[in-house]
């Protein structure tokens, strides 16, 4: 059923999204600032379920593309957020009817809130991943034949562009180099969908889930119980490791924040590898969790999510694994977002201990 998102919801959307964002999707504080201001200025927005979406809807996703390390320093204006949607609406010569999140992440679940408010459009309680992934084509709609293009992109200077590409990987390639040239962070809008395309391909109820997770962390903290344990239960996940951040290596290369973090535990060491998002957690040569499952870093006491660009030496953290949307474990999906795609040679373990051999899955 449709519900209304108010400025009071934003903090929990951002917190929950940063949890599900597995370290990526941008800094929740920045996204929350922007969405709160937009809701205050333009009023609350209706959030509609996939079921309620009319067949003749024209849904567009709105997102910030770039390296989170840069995004934290480039808070977009509302004008910048909606410019690609306007550009695409003009290009399509049809009015956009609904806004959707491409992914769930600190910025990329709140930017669409800001866009919907500023454009006076309803927002879908859904997203394209149920988590965050670093590349543009890595959304479930790609697996259902939804084209990323026409895709519009724009920067804070006022440069905009529209791409019409032969597949979603080419949209990623061209938009990525443009993004890097434009300062490593741009606003994008694309993945045009009808009602049935959205119903078939999106992850249902993502924003409600974010709010539930965000609220639960706050509730547990207030109740002096363990917020990490509370989050783990809601996520259907498992706590993998607890320790202190001992080393972070990070470089912003080819438009991504890539790196590794070492976490020293009581009698073991955990290594996290990331490309915007956490991709692999391993200890003692053993893979504890790997993409496409969710690897989440939470602050030890407060349960607050820590993004990959927010990892700092000395932080006391707990690392949690949670299952991704089931559809990410199909062979076509694993070819797009599995460990092999990112250059890791281990099979696609599930964090619950079952193993899916990626090579086998693709063959």
């Amino acid at each position: 059923m449709a519900w209304t998102m108010t400025a009071g919801d934003v903090e929990n959307v951002a917190r929950g999204a940063a949890v599900l964002g597995t370290g990526g999707g941008g800094d929740p504080y920045i996204g929350a600032l922007l969405a709160t201001r937009a809701l205050q200025e333009h009023g609350e927005i209706p959030v509609v379920t996939l079921e309620e979406l009319p067949e003749d809807a024209l849904v567009l996703t709105v997102a910030m593309m770039g390296a989170p390390t840069v995004m934290v320093e480039k808070l977009p204006s509302l004008e910048e957020v909606i410019a690609p949607v306007r550009e695409l609406g003009a290009y399509l010569s049809r009015p956009v009817t609904h806004i959707a999140c491409a992914e769930i992440g600190g910025v990329n679940s709140t930017i669409p809130v800001a866009a919907a408010a500023a454009l006076g459009l309803p927002l879908l309680d859904a997203d394209g991943m149920g988590r965050a992934f670093p590349e543009l084509q890595m959304v479930l709609p790609t697996l259902y034949g939804v084209t990323a293009s026409p895709l519009a992109f724009g920067d804070e200077k006022g440069n905009v562009g529209v791409l019409q590409t032969v597949d979603n990987s080419w949209t990623e390639r061209i938009a990525r180099v443009a993004c890097v040239e434009m300062g490593c962070s741009v606003m994008i809008s694309g993945f045009r969908m009808t009602g049935s395309q959205a119903r078939e391909s999106l992850v249902e109820g993502s924003l409600s889930r974010c709010i539930a997770i965000g609220k639960e962390i706050v509730r547990a903290r207030a109740a002096k119980s363990d917020p990490v344990a509370a989050a783990v239960e809601l996520l259907g996940g498992r706590e993998l490791f607890a320790g202190k951040v001992a080393d972070v290596q990070r470089a912003t290369t080819r438009g991504f924040a890539r790196g590794q973090a070492r976490i020293d535990g009581q009698d073991a060491v955990l290594m996290l590898s990331f490309q915007n998002e956490h991709l692999v957690a391993e200890s003692d040569g053993r893979i504890l969790a790997t993409t496409p499952d969710l690897i989440i870093v939470l602050e030890h006491e407060t349960g607050e999510p820590i993004t990959t660009e927010g990892l700092r030496y000395g932080q006391r953290v707990r690392v949690v694994a949670a299952p991704s949307d089931e559809r990410w474990h199909t062979s076509a999906a694993l070819a797009m977002v599995g460990p092999g795609y990112f250059g890791y040679d281990h099979p696609s373990y599930r964090f619950d201990g079952s193993v899916e051999d990626l090579a086998e899955a693709i063959a």
Copy 2:
């Protein structure tokens, strides 16, 4: 007065354009192949003078963007040539009325012929430079406030894009990185002009001039007189040097063919520096000619133009300088295409011996 271009004109257009292209603008053989086929398939095209252009015209330039070293291996199809024009026509929601050359160069004076034929549109007897330059914003229309964007670009795979940027340098920056990602060579269309904008900013009579130069080289050769001397006279230029190509250093970096060529003469050495086009000719530490004036390499006996990517060890060549359009020597133009822009610290000599100090000119 309007005239008609037939398949029989193409060879001389290409030859003359490769002379004025100062080593850049692509291989004349490739461009001629494409234009000849287009004229044979679609019939001859009307070529109109700037004077005849109606005020309500919608002129678009058509060009190939990229490194000539790559362009020689990627002959575009007619479909590929016209795709960006069609894309831009749809974007502007107004019919395109005339095609113009952005620059004069082996490929970039014949590609517009092919485009005009395939689209059934008249071609302007004019271009944006009167020569070739490596970057997209380096056209006289930029100096008259004509915007490069909306600019459409497309590749052989079927990917297309439209850019709307804040200035022409940003069009260059974003289109260049997209071009590199798309394989270092794309077709582009942009620089939308009205009749009076075209009249004010373009170089008049460029295609007629190409044909005249091309014909004169052939005539002189047939008459057993010196084709280089004949070309020099038509160009109002001067022969700078004669010798043998002794060394060519060339690299295709960041979307350009950059390098240096050493030419050994009887008792001196000439160094040519290029970025797609020849930019500087120097001997014994003395600048003989420099951008924006034209530096042209012709085959010693036949007078055939040699492009920068066609320079080979052992070729016997003669190097000619010729004056550029007068407007390239204004201070605003020198800031855009003078030696300083390309990283050379010498002032903007004119090949006739007069010196314009670039720093002074800009100040």
